[in-house]
Symmetry: C2
Subunit: 454 residues, 2 copies
């Protein structure tokens, strides 16, 4: 009889707790969809402020604006965390064209972030196309010296998750210049990281590593259509020349900030759950998907908790990281300060994969932690959230990795992401209000469940 | 020992069959993404032919084009199935405005399909706003006679599946005129079935049922922004008047066709599996999502089978239905002919929910059938296809419902669908190539598994 009572109480308490969890998730989704703030915040960030490259006026305005908006939410604490960031400027709009006897053919182009400029009169040189660094090595100095190396390995269309296709190509953009210098190249042009054929060049960070200034060569991206065209023409006319010019410049370091706000935990205030995105963006569009969406969704998570009257047991902290795109200084600084202050982080979630329809999360955690989390998938089923897998989290929360810390990344539908990523069309009108709001509610739900169960 | 051998063989055969199924799915996805035809077909349908309202030149060109393209695939048989369809034409572009002492305010408007025209000089009348038919009844003739009834119940934003929000509102559009006539209304304006606030009116079918011609009143949709504006202004100035004019016309019936192609089954040629979409569209955009996507995906299913060398056991038939939008004549005709010919249908799948990222399928079948199907979800997991639920299928395949027939509908992500549905922005550039191709491969995979397991 005692056992039966116990069993009854157990079943009752499980079903009760299940019900209250279901109810809280529904409150988050309803509030986000019916009375959300994320889309209005994004409208301001994208349309009133615009692009937010580290060290730019836009980035500083975004710090000021998001700080003010967090102040309005009635959080327990809102502050700026100083961080020095690299300042790189694009300068005058780049141009590139194929020089040919029958007339010049335009190639839509943009400098890669961190690249040096061409000489003032531009560079004119023959082009040699390669698909990867092995090919580059085989060709060697004899074939490469004095030429522009053209990296043209496309993203793999048969990979279902487009981030895997990106991961398989981005070495060309990041390390292409440094590798080509070894064989005497004068510049590199990289096929844009874009699964679509279109006319937009996509920028992104590149690195010279420890190459001395005197050996640095300019690096730029051309659109996928331009890459197809150049590839065809260089096969027909191997000695054709490309002329290109860019005026970008590294301006050293400037002061900037991570923007942080928190709700103090009611039971375990010293254990911190972070939710965040990065406040900086590239300069070509307005950074609505990358990562305006992640910024406003993260802010919305705390607002949804306040709005639905949920008081977290652990401290919930929104962190809007500066400089993810070309330095990760914000993420590194946040983790560094946390370490120095001996702060204990339980959980950190980043949204930095676009404001598209959410599918779930990837987790960087132990098998035991993952087992607990994966059991919640049934709670997310009504919201069509199904993806719970171990895998990466997010660049900015990565430095928090330590024993026991659960890291996670929101995983929205990725099919359209690289149509916009780092390009001029990453703009407000490419974000769907409902998709953005569903993402915010999904994030709030995960934080809530972590808060309840850990 | 005998038992062990049996067990070994069983395990071996299960794992082998699993593997060959996995392999075939991968072939479908790889072929669709790397070497697909669906996007090019859609390009032609949308950009070379354009809108395809039943009875229009576009519809007839689409019949001709898709027949020719199916002919090229080397199917066992391709034919046209004659069907009479209603012809309705929009005529001159509609206009509507609020007449006010301080100037007129434009209301973006479009006639609903099947509506009669206004008188040549248009209609000018006071407006009465209602949210539903109960409110209409309560107001009664005293408040409604001589006025324009304005239906303004918005789609419910907190419903995760937008088709449910559509289902909860569309009675206003379909039956609004017939209901308002009862109380002496002179016309109806309906808030567009759109979850977004924007300036595009969304058309769609309406019905007078058996109302005599003399009692029919004009019905039109206004954009969601216009609905918000009109609602505000009519509260401020209850006696304001709206003027609107439309010149649409019902032109009786004309000859058209379903387009059909089939691969004869190698083992059960008399059992038929249908895959289809509808060839007609509304006239405002080019019908890329509704339902150009479903048409080209269905064609692609048969092409993927040919291309990957898969020979189905059952007969696989692609049916491009005519007149789903304003009559369903194609779907009814197909089922009627099948019945008369005593054809046995095993399965019918429709894609008519947009060319967005596929999430899964809904099924109209027995519990036993569903149990078998739901077990395949593990095969779809690598493709992020997770939605397998009982529920509706598709309007065109619905008439095939009978004992034993499995009906299904592709369920793409629905969040953006009603941004485009029946409006001028349902255009080619709103369809993402990869999302379209993923849908086609997902459909081919389901047909293949049905073919193997039933």
């Amino acid at each position: 009889m005692k056992n039966l009572t116990f069993l009854f109480l157990l079943v009752f308490s499980i079903s009760f707790s299940q019900t209250s969890e279901e109810q809280q998730l529904k409150k988050f989704y309803d509030t986000s969809l019916l009375n959300g703030q994320s889309y209005d915040w994004l409208d301001y960030l994208s349309n009133r402020i615009g692009s937010r490259l580290s060290g730019s006026v836009g980035a500083e305005l975004a710090v000021k604006y998001t700080k003010e908006e967090l102040d309005k939410l009635g959080l327990d604490k809102v502050w700026l965390q100083p961080v020095m960031v690299p300042k790189w400027v694009r300068g005058a709009k780049e141009y590139a064209y194929i020089k040919s006897s029958t007339g010049n053919t335009n190639l839509p182009v943009c400098a890669l972030g961190g690249s040096v400029a061409t000489p003032a009169l531009g560079i004119t040189a023959e082009v040699i196309e390669v698909k990867n660094f092995e090919e580059l090595k085989e060709l060697g100095e004899a074939k490469i010296k004095g030429k522009i190396v053209f990296y043209n390995r496309p993203m793999q269309a048969d990979l279902i998750q487009t981030f895997n296709a990106y991961g398989g190509c981005v070495d060309q953009r990041v390390h292409g210049a440094k590798e080509a210098v070894k064989y005497g190249a004068v510049a590199v042009l990289v096929r844009s990281m874009n699964l679509r054929l279109d006319d937009l060049p996509h920028t992104g960070t590149m690195s010279y590593d420890d190459l001395p200034d005197s050996e640095k060569i300019p690096a730029a991206a051309i659109s996928t259509n331009a890459a197809e065209l150049l590839s065809t023409m260089v096969k027909l006319t191997p000695d054709l020349k490309v002329h290109f010019k860019q005026s970008c410049e590294n301006k050293g370091e400037v002061q900037s900030y991570n923007v942080i706000g928190e709700i103090k935990g009611s039971e375990k205030p010293d254990e911190i759950m972070v939710v965040g995105g990065h406040l900086d963006s590239w300069d070509l569009g307005d950074g609505s998907h990358d990562d305006g969406a992640g910024v406003v969704q993260s802010m919305e998570v705390l607002r949804l908790m306040k709005e639905t009257g949920y008081k977290p047991k652990h401290t919930v902290r929104v962190v809007l990281f500066m400089n993810e795109e070309n330095g990760l200084r914000g993420g590194l600084k946040y983790a560094d300060v946390a370490k120095n202050k001996k702060e204990k982080h339980l959980f950190a979630l980043e949204s930095d994969a676009g404001g598209f329809s959410p599918r779930g999360f990837s987790f960087d955690c132990t098998d035991e932690q993952f087992e607990t989390i994966a059991n919640w998938s049934i709670l997310f089923k009504p919201y069509l959230i199904h993806y719970f897998e171990k895998g990466g989290s997010g660049a900015d929360v990565g430095p928090l990795k330590a024993d026991g810390v659960i890291l996670a990344g929101l995983r929205p539908d990725s099919q359209r992401y690289f149509d916009y990523h780092h390009a001029a069309n990453d703009r407000f009108d490419a974000v769907n209000k409902r998709e953005l709001e569903l993402g915010a509610a999904t994030m709030a739900s995960l934080l809530y469940l972590i808060d309840q169960n850990f």
